[in-house]
Amino acid sequence: MELGRLGDEIGAPLPAAGDRALAAAPAARQRRAWRYIRRHPTIVIGAALLGLMLLMAVLAPYLGTVDPQAISPVDRLEWPSLQHWFGTDMLGRDVYSRTVYGARVSLTVGLMVALLSTGLGLAIGLATGFSRWADAILMRVMDGLMSIPPVLIAIALMALTRASLQNVIFAITVGEVPRVTRLVRGVVLGLRDLPFVEAARASGTSLPRILWRHILPNTVPLLLVQGTYTAASAMIVEAILSFLGAGTPPNIPSWGNIMAEGRALFEIAYYIVLFPGAFLSVTVLAVNLLGDGLRDALDPRLARRM
């Protein structure tokens, strides 16, 4: 999405170009947009799907939903109908409303984990790249953390803290930080001894300034791609945690929670599990497509390889 806007700005006709250019602008703009979509279909499909999900999360109260927590024992386990589009669960709660509100949890967790782990990983990665003793210690810690599957780290942390959305975000972030750190460290090691960094150092530029002006910009494309994949995996991990009973507290409808509650009833009311499952899959797919598209657009070398 970001890239699309950038392309439009560069290609936009100059104001002084005259009447002809102004008249041709809409058609040319349309052609350009069409060419962009044809060249990067994944990025556009991913962004569109994700945009829809975001819209659904934001507009949840206005999409024909009722209170997702409202219990109505009389209406329990009703099949999908015009009144309850996705049916009702064993407490008579409307599965459609719960699913729509569940988008909020997934998207919040995805976004927050991506931001936090990118920020932390960036800070630690820059530190390891420029201090040998910090590198020796921190990278051993990261190696160790990386050999524990992220879901297990999150499970362990969640088992010790009270269930809350903040704790879920924190617990998932801990497992994701080492990957970002590795990535940043790789970039820093690659750049550290290049002539332009040496020149900056020789001319008396301070270390924070070198990091900020010369190293940081080079990590941005990689972090953007990695952050997108992190968001996708964080959403899956959140759903897994909730599904296993170690995630988002039951009073918040998240897709994992809805599926966990429908688990025992699957053979008589499979819709309770399948609807949130489908929404989760489509959202993760959208983010993954966006990630693939960003990677192809930002790093043509990688695009050919993967």
Partner: protein, 313 residues
């Protein structure tokens, strides 16, 4: 060579030490009294005191860690709070279904993913290539429990072809054993297959662009001989590496899959341990899973010389 093997084995020591430190520290970095959290909301003061003693929380921290590691090195993972049985006993009881499921998944994934990746790379840009890539992005995106429930819906709810739950040892016959294994294996292998297929395709594409592939074709070898004999062998190192990294995904998937299919393995044990806040058990399981992950990746590192004789240590 020998020196390399020794060095590589020694390199796992600090990694496992960090894992052990993390697992130990978990209990002590948590806010509040871990004994009170483990005991739950309905605990009495006596319950909390009992857990306090069971975990040795009264001693100084360095003594606790020292003692804990000392026991660990002797294979003693502590006592489960809930069952009062040794953690190692509980884990050993549950290993068989998990290892069976993991091995069958690796087997199925490797056997389907590598042909898919090779085919996609050899016909790059074709509909086969596109189909493999679409499968791979779907495999990454659809979570294992969603796949599992779709399979249950098709093969158990709609058609009644396969049993939904449980695990049956091979001693009770081939069909009962296999029929219980099919759905969990397929569900679990999806993400693993996607990962390996993608890496196989990428690695093959890189190798196929090399000069020696052109030479091999020019001297008249059939394209199958070139693909398998020359290209795949040279493309093997990244593929094998990604299989090792993927073990982490597999462990995650095992925990979820065993919950869905009620398989009494380590994954199910993990979930029981969470629900009961049986912390020594959670610690033990994390240690065992991480050790398995480190061990598999050690073996994979050592296998590189087999695939690529240029790698000499």
């Amino acid at each position: 060579m020998f020196a390399y093997i020794v060095r590589r084995i020694l390199a796992t020591v600090p990694v496992m030490a960090v894992v052990a430190l993390f697992v130990f520290a978990l209990l002590h970095l948590s806010p509040g009294d871990p004994a009170a959290i483990i005991a739950g909301d309905t605990a009495t003061v006596a319950d909390i005191a009992r857990i306090h003693r069971a975990l040795g929380l009264d001693e100084p921290l360095y003594l606790q860690f020292g003692g804990w590691v000392w026991h660990l090195l002797h294979g003693d993972l502590g006592m489960s709070i809930f069952t009062n049985l040794p953690v190692s006993t509980l884990i050993m009881q549950r290993v068989e279904p998990t290892v069976t499921l993991a091995v069958s998944t690796i087997f199925v994934s490797v056997l389907t993913a590598i042909p898919m990746g090779v085919l996609a790379a050899s016909k790059a840009g074709s509909w086969i290539d596109r189909a493999v890539m679409i499968f791979s992005v779907l495999g990454f995106s659809v979570p294992v429990f969603v796949i599992a429930y779709v399979l249950i819906y098709i093969f158990a709810v709609r058609t009644d072809l396969l049993p939904v739950q449980g695990f049956v040892g091979i001693a009770r016959g081939w069909w009962p054993f296999l029929s219980h294994l099919i759905m969990p294996t397929v569900a679990l292998s999806m993400v693993f297959t996607a990962l390996i297929a993608r890496m196989t395709r990428a690695s093959m594409l890189e190798v196929l662009a090399q000069d020696y592939i052109r030479t091999a074709k020019a001297k008249g070898l059939s394209s199958d001989q070139v693909l398998i004999g020359h290209a795949l062998k040279n493309a093997a190192v990244p593929i094998v590496t990604v299989i090792g990294i993927g073990i982490a995904l597999l462990i995650t998937g095992v925990v979820v899959t065993e919950t869905v299919f009620a398989i009494p393995g380590l994954g199910r044990l993990t979930v029981d341990a969470i629900l009961r806040r049986d912390y020594p058990l959670i610690q033990g399981i994390i240690l065992v899973f991480s050790a398995a992950y480190v061990l598999v990746n050690l073996l994979i590192d050592l296998s590189y010389t087999f695939f690529d004789p240029r790698i000499r240590y």
